[in-house]
Amino acid sequence: MAARWILGGIFVYASYDKVLAPAVFAKIIYGYDLFPAPFINLIAIIVPFLELVTGIALIIGFYPRSAALMVNAMLLFFITALSINLIRGHEFDCGCFSINSGAQETFAGTLIFRDFLLLALGLYIFFYRYERKLCVLSSPG
């Protein structure tokens, strides 16, 4: 349960800034230089809400296993995007938590490491076999 709260809380927190300012987030996505132009705005609109909804679902225990699966998929997606830009040495703004550009320029390797830690947490929740506590709606196993 604690793992769900931590991971869910992180995802809700991360979504907050992006939900408020999709235009800035869209520009950050453009900066990743990975996605075709027609998808940039759609990603900027939908991804923050995916983070928000799955984060809340984890916290309140609404389909926690599926929410964890989706969070893991997103983390894998972030890790892939970060890795590609790390490998090709492309300078970019992560836009992970805050969208204030230039606020911090963390080394992409650190970010990837952090995402792997979160992924471990997500996998733990996914494979958790015992009874889940404080869940609104959860299907067994």
Partner: protein
């Protein structure tokens, strides 16, 4: 199958919430943005967006002609640091982030009937548009935006300092 159903529900809730909030929020953006630098300054097309294409000067040689006419003041919308590192020769610094503090002094030296051309760091930067917008609101009659900005000017080998 159960997981499939659950994921579909979570996905649908996210997408519907995302589109609904984006539709009603004043900070919402269009479903498709303008991300091709060949077509001008990139923008997500916010509802109250500031990229006004009719102000844009997208041709470096045209900007140079206007520069040579000496009718226009070139105004640098970037930060003071960027300006100090290098700017179009004769350009005046007016960082858009410090507009309120600096506009008084600026307008005393350059009255609102003076035609102005703003620039920043090229087509991935909106500051020159923001600055032009602020200047128009302040009462300046004629402003243009040189969208290739300092990098475009420098690359063309035009005078800098």
């Amino acid at each position: 199958m159960k997981a499939f159903k659950e994921i579909s529900i979570l996905l649908s809730v996210s997408i519907i919430a995302a589109l609904a909030v984006n539709y009603f929020s004043p900070a919402g953006i269009a479903l498709f943005g303008q991300w091709d630098t060949a077509k001008g300054v990139i923008t997500a097309n916010e509802k109250n967006h500031i990229v006004l294409n009719d102000l844009e000067i997208g041709d470096v040689t045209l900007a140079k002609k206007l520069y040579d006419s000496k009718q226009f003041v070139f105004v640098d919308a970037r930060s003071q640091d960027d300006y100090d590192e290098g700017h179009i020769k004769g350009a005046v610094s007016l960082p858009v982030g410090q507009f309120d503090e600096k506009i008084e002094a600026f307008s005393e030296q350059y009255p609102p009937d003076k035609p102005i051309i703003t620039y920043c760091s090229g087509r991935t930067c909106e500051d020159s548009h923001k600055l032009a917008q602020r200047l128009l609101e302040f009462g300046y009659l004629e402003t243009g935006v040189f969208i290739d900005g300092f990098p475009g000017w420098e690359a063309a080998g035009y005078p800098i300092e």
